[in-house]
């Protein structure tokens, strides 16, 4: 018998009108099976079926069947709302596990509906009472099913979106890999939860869950607590770990501390430090290696919050020989050193110094090709030098060219002096003495010998050196502000103090700025405005309205602009909370305040990729009457989108073809900011045409942006890097090129090789937390359009690309690890042709035997020591600091010897491998290839299997997630954990 099929549903539809209920049921049942084919026919009979559903005499099952049928027909008709409401009527007949388009579509619809009801309810603070219980039931059924099927990530996603924290908890607790699920959850809550408040609820829940676990993952807990801004919680965890008898736990505490520091949340870190309880018994004073803080400040600011040495109060008490307390005290000292950020800064400094690979020949070429009388290019060269050597403390170029340098006058002199601050960034111990020759003398005002420009610059430089770690220098800078009436010095001091006190919200300092502001001098006022923002960053403080009022009062555009940016900074990361202020600013008559409004949008929603913010910015980008506002609006997109850099090129691609050069410029910088350090191919393709734009300043912006994107890439990873370098050289050498683009090219050369080719620009930490300092740095940097000295702010965004492993003593031991990729992919760019003094001897890639490495290393080591001693001697401060240094390097030698003693392993590594020695340069893209050696003495802190050798170490690092690579800075931790984690992320995002 041939396959027979019905050709019409007419017969069954007719049966619906039969009087016998069994016949109706038969018809419904069959129609339900045939609806996929015959819905057009059935749709004409929907009223009849609806009436069956509403017929009370009909039995429940049949009514539900009718509802299901109607729901399906409505689904095919595209009436999803009706479809959903009937599906709800179908009760249990609506099978959430069915694998059909209908069910999938309706479930998605149901979840959307439910989620939007729940969030509305949450926003209006009313109960979820008006939520249809049937809808709730469906969603719950779905959640339960996901959990039962082991689709935990799906369940968590839905639970989070629907604000069902109870279900979220259930999903997490039931999952087979709780730690994995939790970290996925944290990830999701950062990337997909838009409301700040709700995100906090989620994180709070996660913390609770974490704490219930038998083996809590303290690292993650502390990260969460940091988002929640709960220093008490972190402090008590740290204390617990420190007091533990197990050395591993203490190591873990150190690792936590390093991770926290990486997020650069100064105020929070200070709070944590302040809350760590002192040891019960006293330890001897010398155990505090306070030598890191310049001595002058140690006396002056004992009242500052960082100085939690309550130990002093009890110092004379009994020496109880309780050994555990002694251990605790010792560890406490260490952890405070880490939390203060000094440890990381010191390590970075050493790393950048010892691995410095900057190419002086490039600078020399620039210097020679730049016309003497062109002061813009002249100072651009100075900026480029500063950026190139940021944090390396290498000022050879300046020293060799003192004559040339002295051509800088007035503000150029200011920047030249401030450039020293960038070069010595993080040189906390000697910063002050380095700058001493330029600082205002005697504190009595302008009486000193130097010009106010270099004095102001020196104060600014101090701020740069101490950026975000200004405990030691604050007091000095405050005095400088108060004791001068020269506006140039005030300018420098305000910027310096703003940097040093970044985000501390200190009222007294605010008052200092206010008095500088109220002098109504344009130059000082601008800096004061910006610095108020720096000081109050992310506090959403009331002060913003005060600043806004003054911005309306004053006549000086510079001051208004400074204040506008300052106000924007105060709302950093506050998301919806900032909406009122943003509204107020974007509606202002004054274009400068609207311009500030753009920054406020950028910063309040920085890294959230919030659709509303993007929409608003795009609107301003095309509709505002002021070019400044339009430019900034486009540029601001870069900040909003930096957490999803892949999006930016797409979003701004049309704008980059705008007829308006300001918009094109903004588009270039937006890409530069959000894709900084990624080397993303689309970004480069977008910027390429802009680098040969017809308008000079667009070229400038594009060159700078390109350099930001390509920082640390070499030709092996993208051939366009080489092209770009040659293009820069051509522009710089071309006599007829416009000054603007020439300046752009010079700066770009600087950024491309920033920090001795060992730093990249990174706005997110490895836990996806925004790095406040970096974001703020780039925001202020982008002001260089109006005020060149602000270029130096870019140094705040630099993060060293280092892998540094530490041992329990927080020393850097020598050990080897493996980079599982061709060395040529990640090596330094080749030095420019003519051999120069820079000893950038690159080893031939394939043959990297450890012994050769070790020799090179030993040589460097020697150089390092020598130069440290030299600088120490030269700077005439042979006090405690250099002693400390000497000790450190001695110990290093000890370590080195230990290593030498070990037999060489892995005789001939394959050319696809490379063996690196701690500490090493590991650039972001290389991160995934890094592995610790199997037989290494060191294992990362966070791996479960500890080695017998007692020196495990905190290897630091920045673990990266798989789907957006950033990079690698490691202060202590574990490669292995890293690779686990990335694997997990892959799974998470795959499904």
């Amino acid at each position: 018998m041939p396959e027979t099929m019905v050709s019409s549903a007419g017969g069954l539809l007719a049966m619906l009108n039969e009087s016998h209920p069994l016949l109706k049921q038969h018809a419904l049942y069959n129609l339900n099976n045939l609806v996929d084919r015959f819905w057009p026919e059935i749709s004409t009979s929907v009223p009849i079926i609806e009436s069956l559903y509403e017929d009370d005499e009909f039995d429940l099952h049949q009514r539900q069947l009718a509802a299901l049928l109607v729901s399906k027909v409505f689904y095919y008709l595209g009436e999803l709302n009706d479809s959903l409401s009937y599906a709800l009527g179908a009760g249990s007949l609506f099978d959430v596990s069915e694998d059909s388009d209908y069910v999938h579509t309706l479930l998605a619809k149901a979840i959307d509906e439910y989620a939007s009801l729940k969030s509305k309810a949450a926003e209006s603070n009313s109960d979820g009472a008006e939520v249809d219980p049937r809808l709730e039931a469906i969603v719950e059924r779905l959640l339960d099913k996901c959990i039962m099927d082991g689709k935990y990530q799906q369940a968590m996603g839905i639970a989070i979106e629907c604000r069902r924290l109870d279900k979220l908890e259930e999903a997490i607790m039931k999952s087979d890999n709780i730690h994995g699920t939790l970290s996925y959850c944290i990830d999701v809550s950062h990337s997909f939860v838009n409301s700040r408040e709700y995100r906090h609820e989620v994180l709070q829940l996660l913390v609770n869950v974490y704490q219930k676990l038998p083996s809590p993952d303290y690292l993650s807990i502390c990260q969460c607590l940091m988002f929640l801004d709960e220093p008490e919680g972190v402090a008590s965890i740290l204390e617990k770990l420190l007091r533990s008898g197990n050395k591993d736990e203490a190591l873990l505490a150190f690792q936590i501390a390093f991770d926290l520091v990486e997020n650069e949340h100064q105020a929070f870190l200070l709070n944590v430090r302040g809350r760590l309880p002192p040891p019960k018994s006293q330890i001897s004073e010398p155990a505090q290696p306070k030598s890191t803080v310049p001595d002058s400040s140690q006396n002056e600011n004992s009242s500052a919050p960082e100085d939690v040495q309550m130990t002093e109060g009890t110092s004379s008490t009994v020496h109880e020989p309780d050994p555990s307390e002694v251990v605790y005290a010792e560890r406490l000292t260490k952890i405070k050193g880490i939390l203060s950020g000094e440890m990381s800064i010191q390590l970075t400094l050493q790393f950048l110094y010892s691995h410095n690979k900057s190419d002086l020949l490039i600078l020399k070429t620039i210097k020679q090709s730049v016309e003497m009388r062109n002061s813009v290019c002249h100072s651009a060269t100075i900026y480029a030098n500063a950026i190139m050597h940021a944090g390396t403390t290498v000022d050879t170029f300046l020293r060799e060219n003192l004559d040339w340098l002295s051509r800088a006058t007035n503000w150029a002199k200011f920047s030249a002096t401030a450039g020293l601050g960038v070069i010595h960034r993080g040189h906390l111990q000697q910063g002050r003495s380095l700058m001493a020759p330029y600082l205002p003398q005697g504190g009595a005002g302008a009486g000193g010998g130097g010009s106010p420009y270099s004095e102001g610059g020196a104060l600014y430089a101090l701020g740069l050196i101490h950026a975000n770690h200004g405990e030691g220098i604050k007091q000095f800078l405050r005095e400088s502000i108060r004791s001068t009436s020269v506006e140039v010095i005030q300018h420098g001091a305000c910027l310096g103090l703003g940097l040093a006190a970044l985000g501390t919200a200190d009222e007294d300092i605010y008052d200092d700025f206010k008095s500088a502001l109220y002098t109504d001098s344009a130059v000082a006022g601008e800096a004061a405005g910006i610095s108020m923002g720096l000081l109050m960053v992310g506090t959403a403080s009331e002060k913003a309205s005060e600043m806004l009022t003054y911005a309306h009062d004053t006549q000086h555009e510079k001051i208004i602009r400074g204040l506008a940016l300052g106000i924007a900074l105060t709302v950093y990361g506050r998301e919806e909370e900032a909406d009122t202020l943003i509204e107020q600013m974007t509606r202002d008559q004054d274009p400068i305040l609207r311009y500030g409004g753009m920054y406020a949008l950028a910063l309040a929603y920085s890294g959230t990729a919030n659709n509303k913010a993007i929409r608003q910015l795009l609107h301003f980008a095309v509709s505002d009457v002021s070019n400044d506002v339009r430019r900034t609006a486009v540029l601001a997109l870069g900040f909003v989108l930096y957490s999803e850099p892949e999006q930016t090129p797409r979003i701004v691609s049309l704008l980059s073809e705008s007829y308006n050069p300001h918009v094109r410029y903004g588009a270039a910088l937006a890409v530069g900011i959000s894709c900084a350090g990624t080397g993303m191919s689309e970004a480069i393709s977008l910027l390429e045409p802009l680098t040969s734009d017809v308008v000079d300043f667009v070229r400038q912006g594009a060159l700078i942006a390109m350099a930001m994107v390509m920082v640390q890439m070499n030709e092996a990873s993208d051939s366009r890097v080489g092209t770009f370098r040659r293009q820069l050289e051509k522009i710089i050498l071309d006599k007829h090129e416009d000054t603007m683009s020439k300046m752009g090219a010079i700066l770009a050369s600087g950024i491309l090789d920033a920090g001795g080719r060992n730093v990249t620009i990174r706005l997110l930490s490895k836990t996806k937390h925004d790095k406040i300092t970096a974001v703020v740095g780039l925001a202020v940097f982008s002001q260089f359009w109006y005020w060149y000295p602000l270029i130096y702010f870019i140094s705040l965004a630099f993060s060293p690309t280092a892998f540094i492993g530490l041992n329990y003593d927080l020393k850097v031991p020598k050990f080897e690890f493996l980079s599982n990729a061709k060395p040529s992919l990640f090596e330094y760019p080749k030095p420019t042709t003519v051999p120069t003094t820079v000893s950038a001897v690159k080893l031939p890639t394939a043959v990297l035997s450890t012994s050769v490495k070790a020799k090179a290393r030993a040589k460097k080591e020697a150089e390092l020591k020598a130069s440290f001693e030299k600088t120490a001697g030269a700077e005439s401060s042979p006090g405690a600091t250099s002693a400390g240094k000497g000790k450190a390097s001695n110990e290093k030698d000890g370590d080195a010897m230990q290593v030498d003693g070990q037999p060489e392993k892995k005789a001939e590594p394959e050319p696809t491998h490379e063996i690196l020695i701690n500490p090493a340069r590991v650039i972001p893209t290389q991160e995934k290839f890094i592995k610790l050696m199997e037989d290494s003495r060191y294992v990362p802190v966070k791996v479960s299997t500890f080695r017998v050798c007692s020196l495990e170490r905190p290897a630091t690092n920045r673990a990266r997630s798989a789907f957006s690579y950033r990079y690698t800075f490691i202060y202590s931790i574990t490669r292995e954990r890293f690779s686990h984690r990335s694997a997990r992320f892959c799974i998470g995002h795959g499904s």
Partner: protein, 267 residues
């Protein structure tokens, strides 16, 4: 033989007997039971499962529905007719290939065409017609319906009424009567439009009534709004005709001009 099938055939026999006896109540009840029983067979539409007794089941089910259709004609229930016919139809169309043709098929199809004609559903009538094969069109039952429709459309109402006398089956009578009424309604509708009034005798002739009484009866039931005055039937045309709407020419011109203006601006 499957006991269910036996049960159905026995019940069917009784049902047929009741039909012939014209015991309408019993037969209706039995029919309903039969239908319920039929839902138990999985070989029937829409499932068409290939069960061992499929042929027999299909045949008996078709017979049941054919009788159901005829029964509804007998009762004069058009809705039931439609319902039963639709349920029957899959047996002709979809199961046609695996069953011998039913002797009653054309008769019932013809009946259905007639029904559509009566209900003045001309579009559906033609749809059905298009689905029929050329052989079917040759069948007297179908032909009859087709000719009726043609006469109907031409306005040859007298031919329609005279066709009543040569129906192929007795069961057609019911619909033929109804058709006469449909025709009359048509005529009445046309007359309303065409005349202001008609004399009663003319009206009788036009509406094809043999006597005045029947005409008056008809007017009372169907068109109470018609008035009988002075031996004439007065239609209410004047009252109904709504004034023709004016064309909003001025507004249209204005709009068109403004579009043109704006287009120019955009370009």
């Amino acid at each position: 033989m499957d006991p269910k099938l036996t049960e159905v055939s026995q019940l069917f026999e009784r049902f047929k007997a009741a039909c012939t006896r014209d015991d309408l109540n019993t037969s209706t009840n039995q029919l309903s039971q039969l239908k319920v029983l039929l839902t138990g067979f999985r070989s029937l539409p829409p499932l068409f499962e290939n069960t061992p007794d499929a042929d027999k089941e299909l045949t008996i089910a078709r017979d049941v529905y054919e009788h159901a259709v005829l029964l509804s004609v007998k009762i004069g229930d058009q809705e039931a007719f439609e319902r039963n016919f639709f349920q029957l139809k899959p047996y002709y169309t979809d199961a046609g290939s695996c069953l011998p043709q039913s002797p009653q098929e054309y008769m019932i199809l013809g009946l259905n065409l007639l029904r559509l004609l009566v209900q003045n559903r001309i579009a559906e009538f033609h749809t059905e017609l298009e689905l029929l094969s050329p052989t079917a069109l040759e069948d007297p039952c179908i032909k009859h319906a087709v000719e009726l429709e043609q006469s109907f459309m031409e306005g040859a109402y007298n031919r329609v009424l005279s066709a009543k006398h040569n129906v192929p089956y007795k069961s057609y009578d019911y619909f033929m009567d109804l058709l006469a009424k449909t025709v009359r309604d048509e005529i009445a509708g046309c007359s309303e439009k065409a005349y202001d009034y008609l004399s009663i005798s003319d009206a009788c002739q036009v509406l094809l009534f043999p006597s005045e009484n029947e005409l008056l009866e008809y007017i009372k039931e169907e068109h109470p709004e018609w008035e009988i005055k002075n031996g004439s039937v007065v239609f209410q045309k004047a009252k109904e005709s709504a004034p023709c709407k004016e064309i909003p020419s001025l507004q249209l011109i204005n709009q068109t001009l403004s579009y043109a203006r704006e287009l120019e601006r955009i370009v």
